[in-house]
Each structure stands twice: as C-alpha cells, then as structure tokens.
Point group: C2
Chain length 178, copies 2
Amino acid sequence: MSLRIALLGLLSSSGPASGYDLTKKFERSINHVWQAGHSQIYPELAKMVIDGLVTVGAEGARGRKTYTITREGTAEVRRWLTERTPTEATRSESALEAFLLPLLDGPEALAALARMTSAIEAKLKGLEELQATHRREAATGRTHLGHYALNLGIMQTKTALTWAKETAADLEARMPPT
Amino acid sequence: MSLRIALLGLLSSSGPASGYDLTKKFERSINHVWQAGHSQIYPELAKMVIDGLVTVGAEGARGRKTYTITREGTAEVRRWLTERTPTEATRSESALEAFLLPLLDGPEALAALARMTSAIEAKLKGLEELQATHRREAATGRTHLGHYALNLGIMQTKTALTWAKETAADLEARMPPT
DNA sequence: TTGCCCATGTAATACGTTACATGATTTC
DNA sequence: GAAATCATGTAACGTATTACATGGGCAA
C-alpha cells in the first residue's frame, strides 16, 4: 500500500512521469523514507492503471510510457493521509543492533558503536546535502514535497548520534580501568 | 536474516526457550525494534535446526519443544554484530506521511499532525512503561538485553514529538490569519 | 463443561530484493 | 563504433502478514 501511496504522491506533486522518472525520483527524494527499485515500481504502476488510479498515455521514444494521476488517484492519497490510523511500528536493523549490544563485551561493543557512528554520520551528511539541494530548488519556486520529512530525518539522525555518544560513555564507565 | 539474529540473541541471553516463549518475548521486549509473529518464528526455528544454529530437545507437555542455541549459533550473532556493515536505510510509514504532508492544505495538515502526535505519545508511553519494567528486573539481578535500544527508542520518540510540535508551529505561521 | 491460555503448525497472499533479459538513443 | 544512459519488463527467491486449523491442559 505504501509504495502505491508514495508513487501517487510523487505524481500528484510533480505531474505526469514515466516509471523510469519515478524510479529516479525515488532515489533522489523519497529514498530516506521509503525505498523501491524499478522492478517493484513498474508492476505497481500497471496495477494502478487497472485500479483506475493513474492513466497511461501513448508510448513515446524508447517505449517510454507517461503516467498521469486520476481524480481517484488523488482521492486515494488524500484518504490515506487524512483517514489512516497511524501505526508507529518500526523495524530497524540498527535498532536491533542496539538491542543486542549487551551480548558483546566492553571493547567489542565500543568497536560496534564506532562503526554505527560512522554510518550515522554518513547518513546525516547525505540528508544535509539533500536539504541544501532542496533549498536551492525552493528558491527557484519549485514545490517542495518532502521538506518536513527531511527535517524529521535530520533530527532523528542527530538523535542517533547523541545516543551513540552517550552509550559509548556508559560502556567506558562500566569497563575496568586499564 | 534479522529475524534469525533476533531469535539467536534472545536464546543467547535468556537461555533455552520454546517457539511460544520466543513469540511472547518478541512481543514484550524486542517488539519496538523488530516484529514477528509465531507464523514466522516456528518455520525459522526449524530452518535454524537444519543449519545447526540451534538444537531442539525432546517434546514436553502439549507438544512443547525447547530450543537451545549451539556454539555455531552464538558465533553467528557475534559475527553479525561485529562484522556486518551497518545500513542506515529506514522504511517508515510515519516518515512517508511526513513526506507527503505538503499535499494537504493547512487545516488538514494540522489535523494529520495531531493524529500523528497522539500515536507518538502512545508509543512513548509504552516505551516508558517497558523501561520501568526493565528497571525492576534489573534490580533483581536479571540480565538486560535491550537496555540501550530502549534508550534509543525513547530518545527517537521524543524527537518525533518535538518535530511534530515544530511542524505544527510552522504550518500555523503559514496559514492566513482568521 | 466451557472457556482460556498453552502450543504448534500450514496456506494464501502480499511485499521486497537481486538477478536476468532486452533494446533504443545519445554522447564521446 | 563503443560506452553510457534511457527505458521497460520478468523470474526467482526471500521475507512478512493474515487467516486457517488443530489439539492439550487447567481453572471456574
């Protein structure tokens, strides 16, 4: 369901696009929130045509097909946004790693935390670059779907960094002095 | 893979258990980080027996089977924790909702944010209760896998709350005065 | 004896990833 | 003419959810 909603959201905010375009847009914009490759996107678009949420125009160069959101499609995203009961379930490998951290002894756990920290920093860097791009585009008047999600992502990532620092300090405090 | 690791982690920290026990433990402890029901857990345990990561003892009352982690099983979790390259990919419906928020107009977006806020508050409450239980058990000397993950979860949830507040303020500032 | 919890499993369906497969157009 | 990018799709496999199905043991 979420993939469908994400696609409808992109089509709704940036107008008609091909499966290829949407795949690229996924990578560039929505990727930090939801991931999907072309092998998932093409079949989903086909299903949405059947369900009347998008229409497909005539084939262009290189077999390119352009999809346009329909009234029903628009209604569908709006319904999802306004009527869905939010579910706060998370499934995160890094959180699982945090969960299992006490299985390692002090030095090993610190090493694992160090690796996690680099990954988090890399993510933060990526998000901040995205935000910079975003701001440049906003200045030229383009719409900015995803602005709030970027803020959230950056805040969450910074929180993760704080957690890693605090956890490392805690582990060090528990280790016998050398 | 992660389900397997989670199960091995639980078996490693709290000793032999049945599929039923593990299902319950999932609900109570690891649930905020990873979710799995019995229909996923039973087959996975069977596969792990084949792969030599756990052994199954004789059947007890009501067909109960007790699984014990093997040396290979222990090695497997440790490998995962110490050798895996951490991946920071997230897939979150609430983040998707945040992403698409600009599709709604001011009042609608505020209403959606309000619904999100209640959900986040409910989650925070759940996590804090879990933490209280955790502390009671720690006082009685029991091991505390999941302590760090709980901290992380609580921090992240509070961050989400802050984000929701800030976003609501931003939306209000953009709305034409009544 | 009825209902609840313990205890295990399978089936159908959906969602997601990686790999395979093909061909047109542009750019160097 | 070779390489990169545009453009679409399918297949195989793995993971996750929901529903179906069964039966033992205990307590009211």
